[in-house]
Point group: C2
Chain length 393, copies 2
């Protein structure tokens, strides 16, 4: 068979994630591996916790990365907080609400689905109504930033409503962390999970989570054991916990954590508010280019995520052919539609390290060329200038 | 707060894992991140599967790395194969058999524990007796290479016995894969999991698994859904499966997989049998040094793992002080005892890239110095020469 070493090309990642990784993060991942109980490594773990608290804007002691991708972070939240028989209100406005339902049901809970249109924010009034109709609900769950559509929901208001009805909240912040304002303590979020491969400019594979004391009370007082050994916070806490005596649980993914550490140091150096502002400013520039070209956003302006821009594919254009041409001719990856959006939209990410002027100009110029070659119904030769006007304003 | 970038020192990792990572693997991890649906990345995933089949010596189509550490690989095996009410015989001869029990119970199964002394192999006769006494058992589970003690069990014989009694088998090969003979197909193992941070010379964070058709039949015909969404093989198969149309499940840990790919290319270039032979030869050299020094192995010779050497701590010697001196003065990490072995043994790994002549001489020389300084009851100045005699034989 004789398989050779793998040398990937240098792509520009402007899809829904993974997004461009900072070269500083890649360099960090190649540093010498330490033992996972080495005092120096344990010190680094403590720093990762501190830096994550800053990113999440929380003082929650249990703030740490789950040693697996975002979907395991999601499961960590549900599997610890949902007990058999619990009723959970799940607000769905895209793919990931559906995954939450799966999680609730596999924990033996009942999911009450509250549907919103894909491409719209979660409607607070619908949550209020659902909670009034389901007095016995224990948890409300929703996605802050829907990666499948680019819609941002009003997490603060949704949490307020849930708390008024004595429900804990589980919030998906996979795409929002570091890209859009997110304030775990100020908004009183109970349990939250994210990913490293979006606005943190890190490689995929880890899932930062944070749990409030209110959420941990529920975990500590469960009637049944958490069904997952790997994700049981009672065990994970003893490993990542504040005590000096760390209980062995699993072997931490040492080098992946070097990468996360570095990405969080970069975020701290830029400043969280500056990162939010950069994502917003770059979104405006890309938007100007898309609109000049004639591409339509699928999410109403007030509900749009700056870091994930979903636009309708123009009439008669071959989705896959465009993405293949961008990839092959420009080494540029943009995202396809997911679920019911497949074939109908492109998802263009401006996340973390990828949210920069160079990428905006490249993406607009490349799309202008590729769509032009295919005689797509777009305005040609105007997108880059429109974006530059915003960038230099 | 202002936390700086983290620069780990270059340690020599001779504990129970993570062990020394090949510089080729570290370099691979720093290569540019691709999208997880990029055709080039998907091609690399196929190569990883092929290379893992070689490492496991199997043709099992479902052979792939779980996107999380070894303990999640263990859970993937149990959560898919154990249904509520199933009786599972668990052979325990160290820490990890206990973790299997936890897994069985959290899946709603009943674990029948078959205890062997720590530091000994699993006794086939006891398994036979347990299966005769439990006709309704569905699964037998055991650890091939106990990382907590350094004992190797006779996987081939244990699987034969289990099959005679119509039981599926789950085998922990975290420490054996690539270090000791392991033949999944020839031995008819049904489900097996391993880790990347031992004899594969890779960083921690992934868990290679392999499932036979017999095992997958059970997964496909379950009465209840797999309780974990993240680990449900029905979903994971569609992502890692052979079909050209890959269903999105989770975002693969792209750069970690670059590392695993490179480590498997290295294994293929060395040759699996050569890797086994190297681990064996280096073990003999280390053993000669330890024995010359007067250190006693806790596992009888015929049951010893070459890649994990557990020796008793000499009378009156301060365990933690010795390990701290090795770490601080020699940048050398050896492992402490785990569970009931804590404070009583050292675990010295010679795994993967770490199984080399330089490490043997360093370890023996450093121990000679550190133990000598502490006036430990050892024979001084003889260990290195004893090892060299074996190495040059």
């Amino acid at each position: 068979m004789a398989i050779d070493s793998f040398y990937p090309p240098q792509r520009i990642l402007m899809g829904p994630g993974p997004s461009d990784v900072s070269p500083r993060v890649l360099a960090a991942m190649a540093r010498p591996t330490l033992g996972h109980l080495d005092p120096l490594f344990v010190g680094m773990m403590d720093e990762v916790k501190e830096l994550l608290k800053y990113a999440f804007q929380t003082k929650n002691e249990l703030t740490m990365p789950v040693s697996a991708p975002g979907s395991a972070g999601m499961e960590t939240c549900f599997v610890n907080l949902v007990e058999p028989g619990d009723k959970v209100i799940v607000c769905q406005n895209g793919v990931f609400g559906g995954r939450m339902k799966e999680n609730v049901e596999r924990c033996g809970g009942t999911a009450v689905m509250m549907q919103d249109d894909w491409g719209r924010m979660v409607d607070p009034q619908k949550l209020e109504d659902a909670l009034k109709a389901n007095h016995d609900a224990k948890i409300a769950a929703f996605v802050h930033a829907e990666t499948s559509t680019g819609a941002m929901s009003d997490a603060k208001t949704l949490v307020e409503i849930a708390h008024k009805h004595d429900c804990l909240t589980i919030v998906d912040a996979v795409t929002s962390l570091a890209g859009s304002p997110l304030k775990v303590d100020e908004w009183n979020i109970d349990a939250i999970y994210s990913g490293t491969q979006k606005c943190l400019s890190c490689t995929p594979g880890l899932s930062p989570v944070s749990f409030s004391e209110r959420a941990l009370d529920k975990v500590r007082n469960r009637k049944s054991k958490v069904q997952s050994w790997f994700m049981d916070l009672n065990l994970v806490m003893a490993y990542w916990g504040g005590s000096s005596k760390r209980a062995y649980h699993h072997t931490a993914p040492v080098n992946a954590l070097y990468g996360l550490h570095e990405s969080l140091v970069i975020l701290q150096q830029e400043g969280l508010e500056n990162s939010w502002a950069r994502h917003r400013k770059n979104h405006f520039a890309l938007r100007a280019g898309f609109e000049a070209m004639g591409l339509q956003f699928i999410v109403p302006e007030a509900e749009r995520l700056p870091q994930l821009n979903a636009v309708s594919i123009p009439e008669g254009v071959d989705d896959a052919a465009v993405r293949a041409a961008l990839l092959n001719d420009y080494q540029l990856e943009i995202g396809a539609g997911l679920g019911v959006m497949a074939g109908k939209v492109w998802r263009v990410g401006l996340m973390g390290h990828a949210s920069n002027t160079r990428n905006i100009l490249l993406c607009l110029g490349a799309l202008d060329d590729v769509l032009g070659r295919m005689n797509a119904p777009i305005q040609r030769g105007v997108a880059v200038a429109a974006a530059q006007k915003v960038l230099t304003a």
